[in-house]
Subunit: 636 residues, 2 copies
């Protein structure tokens, strides 16, 4: 097969590509990054590159304008190489790695009075063995087993890798080794050998939350229960698709599953290295790992094909994974460390939600409580300590900046809050990093839409009104739009605007979330107004303005003091399970008890969704506080 | 560091070697074989090569004669490369691969009435699962667990690799998969998932005996219990040392442990491929493996450092290994197949003896029974079904042809039986393969020594008498000797002889074995004369002539009908454990019940050994049948 030279700019990297291969493949082969949020489906247009030379055959140009094509643009995932090429990867498409959650190590309180001897499954102690002799020639393993059985730990499961080190370690320790065990109950019962060491061992643990977007890690001293340090990083899988569906599609191609597994491991290893630099604690000192994450993330982490998650009836391979060893998962901590993937409820209500329900306190709540993880899947749980119903409402990634022309993630240059003057319609904006804006992140979109609605820039159906006396509203390339930043103020030189199409996408997202908890409340026969607390999880949830979110009908119209923004409840639940067998058991219990309602099988969902496709809602009396403000504004 | 060109003849292979590296390393690096029976210690002289050029610095020449040195000989393991070299590897040192045990597939009877449903731990059956739906969205793992729990198999241990295939297999099977389980008791209790398959599964098993010299494999149909085929092959580790001590030394060098592990796996894979060709059954169809072997072989197979086996107080890492998965051991059968290494008693009484004690019938014997594995370690067990004592008497490899000038293994060209004319002292010989002789194998040595003793060529102290009227006795290069084949009859052109030094080595070996069971009988207060049956195991044991063995005092002087030669009892025990949980448990019970007597800690052993250093023994009245013949001969 013929081979062609592909030169990649601006890095000036060259690579060889076979006839028929894709530009995206050539870029990855050269070790460079290309964003493919839709998973290489040609749907999102994010992988647009400039391809010069005759060797580019564009299979699909659906996301490119005639002007784009004239300028040489091509979708990397849809363009076949048939000759030598020079490809320019536009800078704005390269992934900016900056995390708001990783500015400094956060102080995390130990969530309960931690007693390592009763709560912790990892037990460390020194034992004194009788040295062997010609008269007492018991083998090493039996000698150790006997001593631990005398202490109550029997039977003892010994992984091969632990056995391989045993003889040397016992002799270096002069028969008084330190022993690290994974135990099942305090001070007795079956146990697994994690390590035998001649040197004193201080056990550490790692609590992980593998988010679709961000991976968060807490490094924990298992002797004290304290979080030594925490770190967060974009999930490296983002380069292969921004949402779970794109990743599932990617996972089913060739080596996609292995590739995604490698990427998330690399992200975790990056975090481990950062934690090592900050604390001096090496990954080999980590003897236990707990993992929260949505069902797809857990499947990819475990190397399980996720295809069935996406196909009706949406069945995952596993909701309650067994415990595996770090070495089996090629995770660079202590090889015999337990890796405990927390349990999920269903394909779209995963371990992140089980963990979040524990960490948020819903599982212990006496009063009616609503827990929402605002994000792509919009997982929602309604209940008390006695009962819980859950659903996922496929909100889509609009609040994460996808599906919106000028949407972006919450990184430098993102507009995170907007205020519109109700007479002049002139906006005031706050930008992450305080530099020139590049686009709008989730909280910025909610804020902007709320302001546009409050000031009458859009009507209740979400249509931008073109008859206002301001150049900010106009008929743009994509239809009616409101310009929130002129090109001369922005980083890119292009106007940043919100179009009617964007608003429709945002409204579909918020309607899905609202319909989700509406259906839950209808199903169990309670009124939303009776909800005594609304607990909002997810890193994104921390930055939402309640007033704005109610204004657009994303959150129910309840007194503001009933809302709590808890941040990443998934990693907190993972941390609790890391500390304590009982908390881990609690999460298992929560996952078992939660009743999952599959919205696609519930015929009231579509009705509720359609009713919510208005600002704030078709049934306006559900939002008395909004009516008040809106009527006041429109009277002026 | 400077690099030199090393040309290897007769293969004309060239390789680069750094200054200071050994010729043996260069040979191995070039992918060629070099025999190092002593493990590269410079003790055995078997790695002698001809080194031409100035670049060879001989560190030790202890095994080379002045004539050898003149001819350019060097010990490959003791010669440092300091310049370009031409190295000739003599043909007689290359390992001849021919196995008497692998001529044809032997017919092995199933040793008991086999019922797979009650005896076999591997259970295979088809189950019918309810397909999932939107109303019944249980995950795949829970659906399978629930169905198997309903049948009594719970909890279910699911290896990661089995989980990774589960989703696809269940769907391809349209929810009626074949399930393969490793179970702990018939029809109920905890189980481990080996496989979920859309296609019908017939389970197969592999019973292995990993001998220091030979690896033997039985391929078994677990549905019927029948041996489909068997195969044997030299253990590939032989190239790194002929006895366990040499291999332990080699294992402690650099990558020695990994290298030996790889070699024995390659041998097993060779056998699997041969079995596949003969039966059409692929290694992936093997769902269970049992392994017998001495303690060092089991350690090397499991990748455990064996160093402590060789150092007082001779403690192995493990006598009772837990069950591991084939994939953990990189064994090319079904990845989730159980690999069950049978239990041993001590460093020098291993799983081969526990298995042999079961297969030989000693463990069920009502009468006093002696079980001997005649070989390097001379493991001996004395007892009945009620009690057993065991020892290993370090006979050394003399009976395997090492430590004897013209000794060799039982391959083509080995003299296996000798008869000496009592007047002319002229010998008649039988040679394996019926060609010209090259040396003497174990049975040939026993036969020759017995004949030399019977005809008065040696006296009772083992000294060759030079005053006989025959050119066959002479003062040779190594002292007094008897020439069993003249150079013009042999393959090498050199005389084949047995020297007084050789005889001393053989006498030490037979004395050690005799002293071993003497000490056992003294320890438990029984007379050797009361032994009702002598069971002789080991492939070598099959070829011993009882009369000759008694004549030299290797075996006790009992009526010949009390002796049974059972062949490889180790692989038979492995086969029995493969078939049945109860037989496996029996072997565990045997290993636990056997009382090990460490001869180096027993002060009667040295006395018994010294007393046995005569032909047939210092206390001649222990051998009445020999006295009779000997006195008759000497009267003539």
């Amino acid at each position: 097969m013929a081979s062609h030279k592909v030169t990649l700019l601006p890095s000036k990297t060259t690579t060889e590509a076979a006839t028929g291969s894709l530009i995206s493949e050539a870029i990855l082969k050269a070790g460079l990054e290309i964003s493919q949020p839709c998973g290489g489906q040609g749907r999102c247009g994010r992988c647009a590159v400039i391809a010069e030379g005759d060797g580019a055959r564009r299979r699909s140009t659906i996301r490119l304008s005639p002007d784009d094509l004239k300028a040489g643009y091509a979708l990397a995932c849809q363009t076949v190489i048939e000759g030598d090429l020079v490809v320019t990867i536009p800078e704005q498409e390269q992934i900016v790695r900056r995390l708001v959650t990783d500015k400094t190590a956060r102080v995390v309180e130990t969530p309960f009075a931690y007693d390592p001897t009763t709560h912790q499954s990892v037990q460390v102690f020194q034992i004194n063995l009788q040295p062997p002799s010609l008269q007492d020639n018991l083998d090493d393993q039996s000698r150790l087993e006997k001593s631990l059985a005398d202490m109550g730990y029997t039977p003892l499961d010994i992984p091969l890798s632990a056995l391989r080190q045993m003889g040397t370690a016992l002799r270096e320790a002069e028969w008084s080794p330190w022993v690290v065990l994974e135990t099942q109950s305090p001070g007795t019962g079956p146990a697994r050998l994690i390590d035998v060491s001649p040197d004193p061992v201080v056990p550490f643990g790692l609590a992980l939350d593998i988010g679709t977007t961000t991976v968060t890690a807490f490094l924990v001293d298992l002797a004290t229960g304290q979080v030594m340090n925490s770190a967060g990083e974009y999930n490296g899988q983002i380069a292969r698709g921004e949402d779970v569906i794109s990743r599932i599609i990617y996972a089913s191609k060739n080596d996609g599953l292995a590739d995604l597994g490698k990427m998330v491991r690399e992200t975790i290893h990056t975090l481990l290295e950062r934690l090592r630099k900050r604390t001096g604690i090496s990954p080999e000192q980590i003897h236990k790992v707990t993992v929260a994450g949505n069902t797809t993330m857990i499947h990819l982490f475990l190397g399980l094909p996720p295809a069935s998650i996406r196909l009706t009836p949406y069945i995952p391979t596993v909701n309650f994974p067994q415990t595996y060893l770090a070495e089996e998962l090629h995770l660079g901590v202590h090889p015999q460390a337990s890796v405990i993937c927390l349990p999920g409820v269903a394909s779209y209500v995963g371990a992140d939600i089980s963990a979040g329900v524990l960490a948020s306190g819903l599982a212990a709540a006496e009063d009616l409580t609503l827990f929402i993880d605002v994000g792509t899947n919009g997982e929602t749980v309604l209940g008390t300590r006695d009962w819980m119903v859950a659903c996922a409402c496929s909100a889509g990634p609009a609040f994460e900046g996808a599906g919106v022309v000028d949407g972006m993630r919450a990184t430098i240059g993102a507009i995170e809050e907007v205020w519109i003057h109700s007479n002049s319609y002139e906006p005031t904006i706050r930008v992450i990093g305080d530099g020139p804006p590049r686009g709008l992140c989730g909280s910025g979109l909610i804020s902007l839409l709320a302001e546009m609605f409050a000031t009458g820039v859009v009507d209740r159906a979400g249509r931008v009104k073109l008859d206002l006396n301001t150049p900010r509203v106009r008929q743009g390339e994509h239809g009616p739009e409101y310009v929130v930043a002129w090109g001369d103020e922005t980083e890119t030189g292009r106007d940043v605007a919100l179009t009617t199409v964007d608003v429709e996408n945002l409204m579909r997202a918020k309607a899905a979330i609202y319909a989700g908890f509406s259906v839950l409340s209808t199903n169990v026969g309670v009124e939303l107004a009776d909800v005594k607390q609304v607990l909002i999880g997810g890193a994104f949830g921390k930055y939402i303005n309640v007033e704005n979110a109610i204004k657009i009908g994303l959150l129910p119209d309840l007194p503001w003091d009933r809302f709590q923004f808890l941040g990443n409840t998934s990693v907190l639940g993972s941390y609790m399970a890391l500390l304590s067998r009982e908390e881990h058991e609690q999460i298992r219990d929560i996952a078992k008890r939660m009743t999952y309602i599959e919205l696609s099988a519930d015929n009231t969902f579509f009705e509720a969704f359609t009713a919510a496709l208005f600002l704030p809602h078709t049934e306006i009396d559900r939002f008395p506080s909004v009516v008040e403000v809106w009527e006041k504004n429109n009277q002026e």
